[in-house]
């Protein structure tokens, strides 16, 4: 049993009287590539900013790589953070950008960062502002990986990238994880993209944590149950029913199956990660009418 790399307890962030994030108690074990998903305004950016130490929690505690986020070198050297807009000095050459890493970090892997960019044919003498979005993202990532962090925090790194650049970006991340022990937390709307490299999943909805688990375990425990119309009280008592839809003839539910055996007349099928996530996000929209899977699917697709 290894210690968790990211651990939060009762974490919350309030802006004025509104809680952007509330009561998040979360554990990410070391070595995971964790996908942080949720709709816009779910609190993904707020969570990442607090983990990176650039925003201060209003409530709760954080431990990242054994350190509490603080303005000290001991914490800063363990994390790398790439913000959503990937801030870089636009008028600088790429080489100067890497020099920034060398100058501001004790143990910056300059050779590695140059090699990474060379392999992607990104010219070091080009000004950052003249790079394509994909190249810019790779420069930001090279700078982040050059720090040799224990934890890499990436906020919506794929949002502005075309499919090819997304693939390249994710493969750089995946390669980095193989090279050295590294825990990655990256947020995105694009779950299908993340599924390829992520082995851990965190779902936020409305500023609250609704799911945090290894993807294998999530897939192993969630099932779609279908049966003729019936009373589901017994089912709900022993299993975690995430969503349930009723028609006059049948009942369909996404269920986290517990230890107790299911009644044999339930038709049990496997469920994709995307459907599970949508089920959790649908539940979170409790204010609206009972969410149905097709409706929430449309909703998320529109967001993309």
């Amino acid at each position: 049993m290894t210690a968790a790399t990211i651990e939060t307890t009762g974490l919350g962030k309030r802006y004025g009287s509104t809680w952007a994030l509330q009561d998040v108690t979360l554990t990410v074990p070391p070595g995971r590539i964790s996908a942080l998903v949720g709709a816009n305004g779910a609190g993904k950016t707020t969570l990442l900013r607090m983990l990176a130490g650039v925003a201060t929690p209003s409530a709760g505690t954080i431990t990242v790589a054994g350190q509490h986020p603080a303005d000290d070198v001991g914490f800063l050297r363990r994390i790398s953070y790439v913000a959503q807009d990937m801030p870089l000095y636009g008028r600088w050459k790429v080489a100067d950008q890497l020099k920034l890493g060398t100058e501001l970090n004790e143990d910056f892997d300059d050779a590695g960062a140059r090699e990474r960019l060379r392999a992607l044919s990104i010219p070091l003498d080009r000004k950052v502002a003249a790079l394509s979005g994909g190249m810019r993202a790779q420069v930001a990532l090279a700078l982040a990986l050059g720090k040799r962090p224990d934890v890499l925090l990436l906020d919506e790194p794929l949002a502005a990238l075309d499919p090819l650049a997304r693939r390249d970006f994710l493969s750089t991340v995946a390669t980095a994880v193989v090279d050295r022990p590294l825990t990655v937390l990256l947020s995105s709307h694009l779950l299908p993209d993340l599924e390829r490299i992520c082995d851990h999943l965190i779902v936020l909805a409305g500023g609250r944590l609704v799911l945090a688990d290894d993807i294998d375990h999530v897939l192993a425990t969630h099932r779609v149950l279908t049966a003729a119309a019936r009373d589901t009280t017994a089912l709900e008592r022993v299993h975690d029913v995430i969503t349930i839809q009723r028609t006059p003839r049948q009942v369909t539910g996404v269920v986290r199956v517990g230890a107790a055996p299911l009644e044999p007349d339930w038709d049990v099928t496997e469920v994709s990660l995307e459907e599970i996530v949508l089920a959790y996000l649908g539940v979170a929209q409790s204010a609206g009418p009972p969410a149905t899977a097709p409706a929430s699917l449309t909703l998320l697709r529109e967001e993309r």
């Binding site: 920034l100 501001l104 970090n105 143990d107 700078l143």
Partner: protein, 317 residues
Amino acid sequence: MNWLLWRQHRNGAVVFLAITLAFAIALWITGVHMAHLYDSARQSCTVGSGGACDRYLGSLFNGYGAIIDIVHLTLVLPVVLGAFLGATLIARETEPHTNVLVWTQGVTRRRWLLTKVAFALVATLIAAGLTSVLVTWWSGTPNSLNGDRFQGAQFDTQNIVPVAHALFAVALGIAAGAVLRRVLPAIATTIGVFVAARIVVAVYLRPRYAAAQLLSTPFNGPVGGAQLAPGSWRMSENVVDPSGHVVNGPLRVPNSCVAGSRAGADSCLERLGFRQVVKFHPASSYWRFQWTESLLFVGLAAILTAVAVLVTLRRDA
């Protein structure tokens, strides 16, 4: 961190040094020439030539209008430094969010901030100090002609006051950038507040750095007479009637003095007990005024710097 400072400020430093070098050369050439003209004029003015000599000295630098204007224009150096060095110092990081990039490298936010602020203030001290040394040296000759160093064009550009103004302007810029986080609003605020503060201080506070002195002199002589040392700052001149009251409005000449010439009337009024009174700050108070104004602006600069530091360290990125 030093590399980052150099990388971000090298262009500004080169521009400033180029302008200062050109300015220094112009001042050196004209300053030496003016001193030479003045000295030879003084030697050729023999005692007793009186008014003619004064007129000659007064017209001595008539062809120097342009350079004199440029020297007086160093008045705007503080606000230029405040806008381009102060206001951009933090705002140009927070506007494109490069502060988030830098604050998650291996240098603490505290060290980054203190290094940048210290650099800006020391650079200001050097830039404004250097300019003031040049202007003060160059103004030696015109000062000895005109005498009064309390006027804005002299007081605000010579000795320590311009340096204090510059430190205030830059600290104001840094604070505005830290609070507003965007470059243009920070620059606009810096210029507006700086100009307002300078006007308020120059018009309402500066005359009160010391109690003004009063000097009463005979009605028929020059105001202040020989007792008013050259280089004093004259605040007001008034006529006082025999009962000691200040005469407001036109002086009503008593009938007994109406007859005769202007000079005769003056002597007549003098005999009746009319006096002229000048309210002034003596030339010897110059350094007291320089120090008082400098400490005031340096104090404000210290408060604004503290505000900038606290705001930047406490607020989320």
